[in-house]
């Protein structure tokens, strides 16, 4: 993957005072994309006939265990995200490479969570038969929408300084609930197995 090593994660170029308010598309496009992603995932999960089975990884007893471990890895990366974001914003003392750490741990977390989401949507679908499952389905779809919005917001400059931390915090909070309602539940129900 090609990455601009000089890409800034903070300290947006000071807005030129000539223009007043940024164009509303700056917020609208990410918000609309987020809604479209979340709705598309939910609709696929609802309409698609859950297959029940899917690909398994060697060395694991069940797809549930595979998913729980992948999700837990993603959650660990998400914790790194919070810490490195605090470093980037100067709230914690951090090294100069904390920006790179933030970018790459985020990518790792996202890419690790994709197979889990694919299995969820392909094999299980959007389900509402109990509270835990309802929240997991709802927020799981919401998470990928919110994450898409976060990624797209990163591309625009001259955002209000509070926006990215708020959206990033939201993404982390939602992911935490998604993890609590799935992987933690799995480990508590079936034991910490591989």
């Amino acid at each position: 993957m090609t990455v601009d090593p000089n890409a800034a994660t903070q300290g947006f170029p000071t807005p030129s005072p000539a223009h007043g308010r940024p164009h509303p598309a700056r917020y609208l496009v990410p918000a609309l994309v987020a809604a479209a992603v979340a709705l598309a995932l939910g609709a696929y999960g609802k309409v698609h006939d859950p297959a029940g089975t899917a690909f398994n990884l060697a060395g694991f007893s069940s797809t549930g265990a595979v998913k729980s471990w992948l999700a837990t890895a993603a959650f660990a990366f998400a914790l790194v995200q919070v810490v490195s974001a605090l470093m980037v914003y100067g709230r914690l003392p951090g090294p100069g490479w904390s920006g790179a750490l933030h970018r790459w741990s985020g990518r790792a977390a996202f890419l690790v969570s994709v197979p889990v989401a694919v299995h969820c949507l392909y094999a299980l679908g959007y389900q509402t038969y109990e509270t835990r499952v309802l929240w997991h389905s709802l927020l799981g779809c919401f998470f990928f929408g919110a994450f898409s919005a976060k990624m797209l917001l990163l591309r625009s400059e001259r955002l209000p300084s509070w926006l990215l931390p708020i959206v990033g915090g939201l993404v982390f909070a939602v992911f935490t609930i998604v993890w609590l309602t799935s992987a933690l539940w799995f480990f508590r129900t079936f034991g910490v197995t591989t």
């Binding site: 890409a7 029940g52 089975t53 690909f55 398994n56 890419l111 990163l154 591309r155």
Partner: protein, 224 residues
């Protein structure tokens, strides 16, 4: 100037997701798809896995080596065409089997188990199952339900996978639900309300609880 990094991240995730989806879809339709589950007979140690034993865990009576009766056991698996699940429970030389496609077609079958491990089970509407027990590890055979003929393989199942059934009356409707919990944790079940089948809500395989039309029921391991 736009930064390409975030967009590339999103695209990479999308490509990975689509790749996995096609992988799932293509392997899912192959008749051999169930084979990737069978090589491992679920031997992984699960020390703290099921601390609460559920009703059926009848400790299999120490088999006397001379008589070699058919050991009590549960078996669960899928048809070779992957269109339906099948589970068989053996108790005291008798068997109950459940065939279920998770949508509309289901059948309960019963019958004796011969000394040599041959099963000939029958059910309503001409449903029929012929199978052979292979060294207590696996049942292979064929099942005829609703005019369709399927071959199947059911591996020895360990809790919480196996066969569950719940019958009750909820708001005046007679409910009859059957569930097959497979070893990967997935479930295939049908809930019949006054004779009308529909996909069943998931049960909690640890406790057997399931919520049907707002009422909580308990599905119990099915026995002959």
């Amino acid at each position: 100037m736009k930064r390409p990094g975030p967009l590339l991240t999103l695209l990479a995730g999308l490509v990975l997701g689509l790749f996995l989806l096609t992988l799932n879809a293509t392997t899912g339709t192959k008749p051999a798809s169930s084979s990737y589950q069978s090589p491992k007979p679920y031997q992984s140690p699960k020390p703290s896995a099921s601390p609460s034993p559920t009703p059926t865990s009848t400790p299999s009576p120490a088999p006397s080596p001379s008589a070699t009766p058919i050991p009590d056991a549960d078996y669960a698996g899928r048809t070779d065409d992957d269109s339906a699940a099948i589970a068989v429970t053996l108790r005291d030389g008798r068997a109950i089997a459940y065939f279920c496609d998770g949508r509309a077609e289901e059948a309960w079958l019963k019958g004796p188990v011969a000394e040599d491990g041959t099963l000939r089970l029958t059910g309503k509407n001409g449903a029929r199952l012929d199978g052979t027990l292979k060294e207590g590890k696996q049942i292979r055979g064929t099942v005829d339900v609703g005019g369709a003929h399927h071959s199947f393989t059911a591996d020895r199942a360990k809790k919480p996978s196996g066969l569950y059934r719940a019958t009750a009356t909820v708001r005046g409707a007679t409910i009859d639900g059957g569930w097959i919990v497979l070893k990967d944790g997935s479930q295939v079940g049908i809930l019949t309300r006054d004779g009308k089948p529909s996909p069943a809500p998931r049960i909690d395989p640890e406790t057997g609880t399931v919520t049907v039309d707002g009422q909580q029921l308990t599905a119990r391991p099915a026995t002959p």
